[in-house]
Symmetry: C2
């Protein structure tokens, strides 16, 4: 839940005058996104999303995020399209914050996705990877090995508060991943946060991907490992191989994995489980008790990490070939 | 800002199946209302508001609120219209809460209303009072004299924390109002909370009134005194007689005030200033420091109360006749 900044209709109208949007009919702050303030606008030309970028987003990254959405939408991916102002810029300013006007995608995210939806997600992820080719800007993944080490440095002293023995276990895990992390896999632009709330469906049809504010350059199959972690486990912690198989098959129907990528999947899945474990652990340890933010349980990702650690080969994810 | 309850698309579709709404395209939790969870739905037949009534709303009051909106909209007032289910009911249940589907009003509330907007508000308020005639249900005003006394009983011991001398001043004010409160003025259904965020405009035209969840039966001119308090003071605390005059003239162009109502306006304005002072004082004293709720300053209404106390006649509000 977000909406940090209120905006006046006078400021908003002045902002919209730089765009070709028709007349403003209404605007509502919506509970979407965590880092930014988002508004749903109705105009005489249809609905739009207005995003105000709050402090947690690095302003220098905005041309990458907005340019990427434009690049992907141009290549036929269903994703929000930032609208250009009359001067051609994708970014303006409103209430003292960088702000963008973005096309509205109809659709709903699934609270209880099934295997057939996982297949659609695999297909869409691979399409995004293909559509991302040729995008000229780059952004390193701030939440890969180096980022994990610095998050861990800020949390390790208190990690045993969450579960006894964590300091030793996670320290060893990071050392292992640092030693064994692959160096030479197909890379490109990845979404890096394709959780169920970032994928819209209309009925059983995937209608679009949203929230590209963690997108960066990294191994493409690492993005698939994030989706496996985000979509293919049940609430009780069990891996659902039917969902995993559907997702991987969907992915490969668009972009077949190389042998090196298949081999790397277990270690990448350990890495991506660790990545979400570490950010959740950090938030868990630093969010004040009274705050109205839902603290996500870091142990969910610890359990996933342990699952991946005992995987002998990618076949156990449901990878057939 | 609200949205307390998440809903799944499966539950929502089952809920909507009881209505004639077309297909669901999207739904977003919106930051509107304080007592309830509100969602903006897009359907193939247009936008709708879905309201889930949270615990702070008395379930027994819902037929009054929803029936009133229906009654007023039926009589041509621009206000949200609760849609009937196939079984004719205006109220359903979703995620374990009473829930209603309500027409969506385009428009925006004004952060900086001017005198011409105050005139429109006066007109709309009077139209609402006329349209409310014949509504068969009744609901006593829980925030009149008796309600003030019980709020005060819960706050008086700590009132001097907010300003030295408050315990004595407010105690005397309540005693005065209890002795002098009018007994025989034209009464009917009042909105009781028609603040700027509950009035929508499209350009300079008033497009509708929303949020009838404080509506009740009371003196009609008491409702006008609430609007004078809510709309006709500047941020520096000064009464703006141009706005007051415009609002009262607007009101009287639809429903002229009787002599008794004119005479009663200063004391009613003291009462309505006290009413908002007391709820804000109570919230101020009881909201935990860490909560992400904006605490509204009770002293704003103390200053208004003091202004009304030194009014000699209603002419000072801008009432001409």
């Amino acid at each position: 839940m977000a909406v940090y900044t209120d905006i006046t209709e006078t400021d908003l109208k002045a902002f919209l005058a730089e765009y070709d949007t028709g007349d403003l009919l209404s605007y509502k702050g919506i509970a979407e996104g965590v880092e930014n303030s988002n508004f749903l606008l109705h105009t005489t030309k249809g609905p739009l999303i207005l995003t105000l970028y709050e402090k947690r987003v690095e302003k220098n990254d905005l041309p990458f995020f907005l340019g990427l959405m434009h690049h992907l939408a141009d290549r036929g991916l269903n994703c929000p399209l930032p609208l250009p102002r009359h001067d051609g810029q994708l970014l303006g300013e409103l209430s003292g914050r960088p702000a963008a006007l973005i096309s509205f995608l109809e659709g709903m995210w699934l609270r209880k996705p099934e295997a057939r939806h996982c297949r659609e997600v695999g297909i869409a992820l691979a399409k995004m990877h293909v559509a991302g080719e040729g995008f000229p800007l780059t952004r390193p993944n701030a939440l890969s090995l180096d980022g994990w080490k610095s998050l861990w440095a800020k949390s390790r002293d208190r990690a045993d508060e969450v579960e006894q023995g964590l300091e030793e276990e996670i320290g060893a895990e990071i050392a292992f991943l640092a030693a064994k992390w692959p160096r030479d896999l197909p890379a490109g632009v990845i979404h890096a946060d394709l959780f169920p709330d970032n994928v819209f469906f209309l009925g059983d049809d995937l209608s679009g991907l949203i929230d590209f504010y963690f997108a960066c350059n990294d191994f493409l199959v690492y993005d698939l490992s994030i989706c496996i972690n985000a979509w293919c486990f049940e609430k009780d912690g069990a891996y659902n191989i039917t969902k995993g198989m559907a997702m991987i098959e969907g992915y490969q129907s668009v972009r077949p994995l190389s042998e090196a990528e298949v081999t790397a999947l277990p270690i990448l899945s350990r890495g991506s489980a660790l990545r979400f474990f570490l950010t959740r652990l950090y938030d868990w340890l630093t969010t004040p008790a009274g705050a109205l933010v839902v603290k996500k349980d870091p142990l969910e990702y610890l359990r996933k990490l342990r699952f991946h650690r005992q995987i002998a080969s990618s076949a156990e994810y449901g990878l057939t070939s």
